[in-house]
Symmetry: C2
């Protein structure tokens, strides 16, 4: 029994999780309302946007997340339920009240998410009317429908599940996510719902989630520029019946490493499906004076529009990388700088390797590419994922309807 | 005698300034080498990029700027003379040596600028060979040719001059500039050469320039993201024979206000001519807790790609403004927020004024528009200029040659 990616795995792959999705009329015909339910009270952890214009479902879920147990996540697309006055708050309360009645669980055990346009009243009657059908259609195969129901400009669902042993017991982690937008430096809403049948204490669940999100989603999404609705939920229902994880032992580390794997996969899928994205680039910084400096440099390159358009043009214009490094205002030594794409150096100790340019130009045609920058000043390092900036991105975002 | 904009005014409008421009072969046929000379030793002030990957001409000019007097500015386009090894330093030394000989002035009195592609050797022989002809063609009408010689992706020259009285004496300020790129959050090189025949002490000249640049160019160009070559030079030769300005009196304030006027005009022209720019937007923030907060909010909106694509689409999607305000992580009160375009409110105390939407939609078709955001929390305010993000921008920057 080893780690295994579950075929067609989704948020319903872990034991005891059911899901469903349907169209309730917020969108014309696409699915727009999804539900994930645990058949046993689950322990929950979450990370929320730091944006100070928080959507109503975020405010609600922040209020209840510290409770002992949670049963469900309900989410709609097509409307962010954000910045629409007191009716938005009312809409969340109505939703959880009706769903609580239908599921026979406390309203305060229901987590909520929304994604879509800001500033419009959420047609909550549609949601309330659809709840009985939504609950009735809950199933073990419903993960995909729930994943479909949270999409906005995404072109495909993002789903995954792994199974792996903890002290001889088979444990599963599954998830669905949505993103699109250009992620960085933008404000496309990112939603991710993760389920697990592992038995783990609430403090450790929170810790594992925080660490995983920091190292994955936050490396593609500049955290000072989050959307009003960004949320990651993680529900653990203990149905794998492993010995409960209560300290940072080997079992915890196993759980954590698989959780990161799930998050890393989804983070990459999200940016690959970003609006108009034709190339993604993993930026690897080495040799900075500290990890903090390396992080700063990685982010500066990742958010440079000149670098992003360069990726779109498949053009090894390394001068734009140098300019972005310098734009951090961190001192560096030109004579020590190495720059490469796809492990082919084009700048070594500050000198251009002209003979490599044609090879690099060819390598930049790949959909997934890597950029390596070594400052050769210290041991600081960082990684960051970014996308190109294409004409298609501009077209999509110019005409996104108000 | 009142303030007057000089017809066809340029950097040569102030007394005693001559200029010239020619093609020396860095570019195929367009002008690529420009010269501005004062016929009397001038007092100089400058502001330089904070980028730590500074171009060679910036390093040279920083070294000599504190000297007592300066005579000339020489500038080339088509090559940034940056990050090309020790030959780049050598190229600057050769240039000033030859020009000094030709003008019969000290090499250390010559300021230098370059703009263009990073990382290529500057063909300094072309420059040196062209210097005699460049000096020979210096003329009172040469401002326009010097302005042409510094352009890169700009579509037109930026030139202006004002004359105004100081204690009964006619004083002039003239200038040329180049920019393009999208300015913010980008790294298009901004060069601006200002001349004046005012007589003013060096400390006050520096002070006036710093204040003017902060309030104008730095409000369109996020200063942590400057190019490797950004430079503003100001030469004052005293030939207007006003009583020398040596303290912050009325004469100083008059000089300062006209200097700001020149800079403000050029800053606006620069962003109007930004790559692929179809709309420019003046962002006005009011009612923040402090000017610092207001500034932070203005910059966040100005650099939001979703806001910029919204401008391109002429779509009053005020939700993107709210999301950008919140993305600063500064607390604000939704119920107090006012948002308007072109002085037409679309959000008042957090409520949408639906009836105004069609009018606003129409107003957004204008080339120059304003966005007003009032947080109604305090007295902090700020202004910032930004541009839209169009498909043309992406096209230009994807194929800018390496």
């Amino acid at each position: 029994m080893a780690t295994q990616r579950i075929k067609n795995g989704s948020v319903t792959s872990p034991k005891g999780f059911l899901a469903s999705g349907l169209n309730c009329g917020i969108k014309k015909s696409k699915l727009d309302l999804g539900l994930v339910v645990s058949s046993r009270a689950a322990t929950a952890a979450a990370t929320f946007t730091k944006n100070t214009a928080k959507a109503w479902p975020v405010l609600w879920s922040e209020e209840i997340i510290d409770r002992k147990s949670h049963w469900a996540i309900i989410a709609n697309s097509g409307n962010a339920n954000c910045f629409n006055g007191a009716v938005g708050r009312r809409a969340v309360l109505d939703t959880v009240k009706h769903l609580a009645r239908e599921l026979e669980v406390p309203a305060q055990s229901i987590l909520v998410s929304s994604t879509g346009v800001i500033g419009k009243a959420l047609p909550v009657k549609n949601i309330v009317d659809a709840i009985p059908a939504l609950v009735k259609s809950l199933s073990k195969d419903g993960g995909n429908r729930a994943a479909l129901a949270i999409l906005t400009t995404d072109t495909c669902t993002k789903e995954i599940a792994y199974s792996f042993p903890i002290e001889g017991r088979e444990v599963r982690i599954g998830a669905i996510a949505k993103g699109a937008g250009m992620m960085n430096p933008n404000m496309a809403t990112m939603l991710c719902f993760i389920s697990t049948d592992a038995d783990i204490s609430k403090p450790l669940l929170k810790k594992a989630l925080r660490e995983s999100v920091t190292e994955t989603f936050n490396q593609v999404n500049v955290d000072t520029d989050m959307s009003t609705n960004d949320t990651v939920y993680l529900l653990a229902n203990g149905m794998a019946r492993n010995r409960k994880i209560v300290k940072e032992d080997r079992s915890y580390r196993l759980f954590l490493s698989h959780l990161k794997r799930v998050c890393r996969y989804l983070a990459k899928e999200l940016i690959k499906d970003g609006e108009g994205v034709e190339h993604i680039c993993e930026i690897k910084i080495k040799g900075a004076r500290s990890d903090f400096d390396a992080q700063k440099i990685a982010r500066q390159i990742a958010s440079s529009m000149l670098f992003k358009t360069m990726l779109a043009g498949e053009d090894p214009n390394w001068g734009r990388v140098v300019a972005a490094v310098g734009a951090t205002e961190l001192p560096f030594e030109p004579k020590k700088l190495d720059i490469g794409f796809e492990r082919i150096k084009i700048l070594q100790h500050g000198r251009v390797l002209k003979k490599n340019l044609p090879v690099v130009r060819k390598a930049l045609k790949r959909k997934e590419i890597s950029l390596e920058v070594n400052l050769n000043l210290g041991r600081g390092q960082a990684r960051f994922l970014t996308t190109d900036l294409t004409k298609a991105y501009v077209r999509i975002n110019s005409w996104y309807t108000t």
